[in-house]
């Protein structure tokens, strides 16, 4: 029992952070806003999955990927393909030249369902694919790159190229993928209408639960030897290698983990927002997701969630009132986070906590205990 307490929840500190986040996500937000705004928050939370993955990959393992949109998109498209097929049953599509296939295929004079769409008629397959497809792609790319000791900037640029390639590929084949407009007009999942307010509430809570579970899983992984290994690898890769570890496999595993999380986020996005398009797969969204993670503090799991919410809320507020200024602000944010606030929100939080510690001690009358940043290993700084 105590082991679970320390390893999964990370002791009192971790429990407090978890409780706080759960409170905000599950109580405060749903109560304080109407469903259409909550739905927006739900959308932002799906981005947070990607940011979480980046905390593990970039913050902990030191590998920057500028192409996480690829995995977000793959997961999203898998889910969208299932939903689209369901919405394209022969009865609803009877006005098409070929009923029973998605509308965009019909517009492109395609007369039967392409082979790679067929397995997505099955819900279990699609659900599995949401996580498995990104993992497999990450495995292949990761193995090829990490075994050859490609890292750092080279790796980042190649992931960026992959994001470009996938978004262009989807864009260019409108008949098979829905092209630039993406896959839209999604209605039901196994008969359950996902467009109703009721459904949106449920999907929001499902997203939150999955997110919290993902955090717990990550914490569990980090608390053991794996966490220490990632830290060791980030600081002294050579030493780790000469201690008998195959460093590349660790990087591959972390890359796959981040990919799987992103895929899950993508699927939840499709369910809540009702469509997917190449605009969520390419270079720009991929690098934005990096900034969500960076604002949170790069190595902080909880920070990533708050960072995502903060930046996205800022984005919608800003673009409503000062559309011209938004890009300036975004650009400035990138620079500020790198130059001025490398520890992001987590760093600010830690600063506040340090200032408050003497007050809290007086109040509790307890001796000082070493305190860690939420979500990091042993309170280490990046």
């Amino acid at each position: 029992m105590k082991n679970i307490y320390t390893r999964v929840f990370r002791g009192t500190n971790g429990l407090t952070n978890l409780a706080l986040l759960a409170l905000v996500l599950l109580v405060v937000l749903p109560v304080s806003m109407p469903i259409f705004r909550l739905n927006l928050v739900g959308k932002y939370l799906t981005y947070a999955f990607v940011a979480l993955g980046l905390v593990m990959l970039w913050g902990k393992a030191g590998v920057l990927s500028l192409g996480q949109g690829v995995f977000f998109g793959l997961g999203g498209y898998c889910m969208a393909m299932f939903l689209k097929l369901e919405a394209s049953d022969p009865v609803s599509t009877k006005i098409q030249s070929t009923p029973g296939i998605p509308d965009f295929m019909d517009w492109n004079q395609i007369t039967h369902l392409p082979a790679f769409w067929v397995p997505f008629k099955s819900l279990p397959f699609s659900l599995l694919a949401v996580v498995v497809v990104p993992t497999i792609v990450a495995f292949i790319v990761g193995l090829a790159m990490f075994k050859r000791r490609v890292g750092g900037v080279y790796f980042a640029v190649i992931t960026q190229a992959l994001a470009l390639i996938l978004s262009l590929a989807i864009d260019s084949r409108q008949g098979y993928t829905g092209g630039r407009n993406g896959i839209t007009d999604l209605k039901t999942m196994w008969g359950w209408d996902i467009r109703t307010h009721h459904a949106q509430y449920i999907l929001y809570f499902v997203t939150c639960i999955f997110l919290l579970l993902a955090i717990l899983l990550s914490q569990w992984l980090l608390s053991g030897k794996t966490g220490k290994m990632l830290l060791a690898m980030r600081d002294r890769e050579d030493r780790v290698r000469f201690s008998g570890y195959d460093v590349s496999m660790f990087k591959v595993a972390t890359f796959c983990f981040a990919a799987a999380l992103s895929g899950l986020g993508g699927a939840l996005f499709v369910l809540q927002v009702g469509f997917i398009s190449p605009s969520l797969v390419g270079i720009v969204p991929s690098i934005e997701m990096v900034i969500f993670c960076a604002v949170g503090g790069r190595t902080s799991l909880y920070g990533a969630i708050y960072g995502t919410l903060l930046v996205n809320t800022g984005k919608s507020l800003f673009s409503e009132t000062f559309p011209q200024l938004w890009l300036f602000a975004m650009g400035g944010l990138f620079i500020a986070v790198v130059v001025l606030f490398p520890d992001g929100l987590a760093g600010v939080f830690e600063l506040v906590r340090k200032k408050l510690k003497p007050w809290l001690e007086k109040f509790r009358n307890k001796p000082s205990l070493p305190v860690g940043i939420p979500g990091t290993v042993n309170g280490d700084q990046p």
Binding site: L221, G224, K225, T226, K228, M229, L231, A232, D235, R236, D238, R239, R241, F242, S243, G244, Y245, D246, V247, M249, F250, A253, D380
Partner: protein, 248 residues
Amino acid sequence: MSSNTNFLLAIEDLTVQFDGFKAVDSLNLYIEKDELRVIIGPNGAGKTTVLDMICGKTRPTSGSIKFKNRELIGMAEHRIVHQGVGRKFQTPSIYENLTVFENLEVSYPKGHTVMGCVAFKRTAEVIERIHKIAEEISLEDYLEIEGAFLSHGQKQWLEIGMLLMQEPELVMLDEPVAGMSQSERELTAALIQRICKGRCIIVIEHDMDFVARIAHKVTVLHLGKILAEGSMEEVRNNPKVVDVYLGH
């Protein structure tokens, strides 16, 4: 050509060339179990390069390195470690952000794969072994201190301790007493002699008194070739060695 050998480590005809420059030239070196071999020589003689080739960091141009009759050339670095080869680097190479305990724990020879890491448990056996090694390297009282806060000498000992955790059969120490005080050097000499049992050790060093204290056999390298080999006495009195390295 290489043949079956009784030696724990058999290096034959080892050569490595960088852009036409031969850093190590047709080297032959044989080390037995329980032997403590010290390699000395002027800077640039190729000493560290030999260690680099044994542990897989550098690929030789030709030759053979056999450990326990197994060819090491071409093997991945982490596999070579699994064979039982441990290396301490010239500059202390420990994990600064982990405690001494964690530094040692991470070097425990179980849980090297990803799944192994995830499933790794800090059992009583692990803890006991860590305490034993910590005592061996005089860091028993420092287990909860982060690596970054150790003194230079302590970092060297920690690195040796990390090696010992792996239960290696070949230990390679590159300048283990560089930057240490006299008393620290004595402790290190005693440590190295203790761990020699059941293993073979290669030490690269420049401190001749230290070498004299610990060496069973000394090999002198110069320009990638062996200049002389023998006991410390023999080598010290060898006129070629005196000329090139030890001075008058």
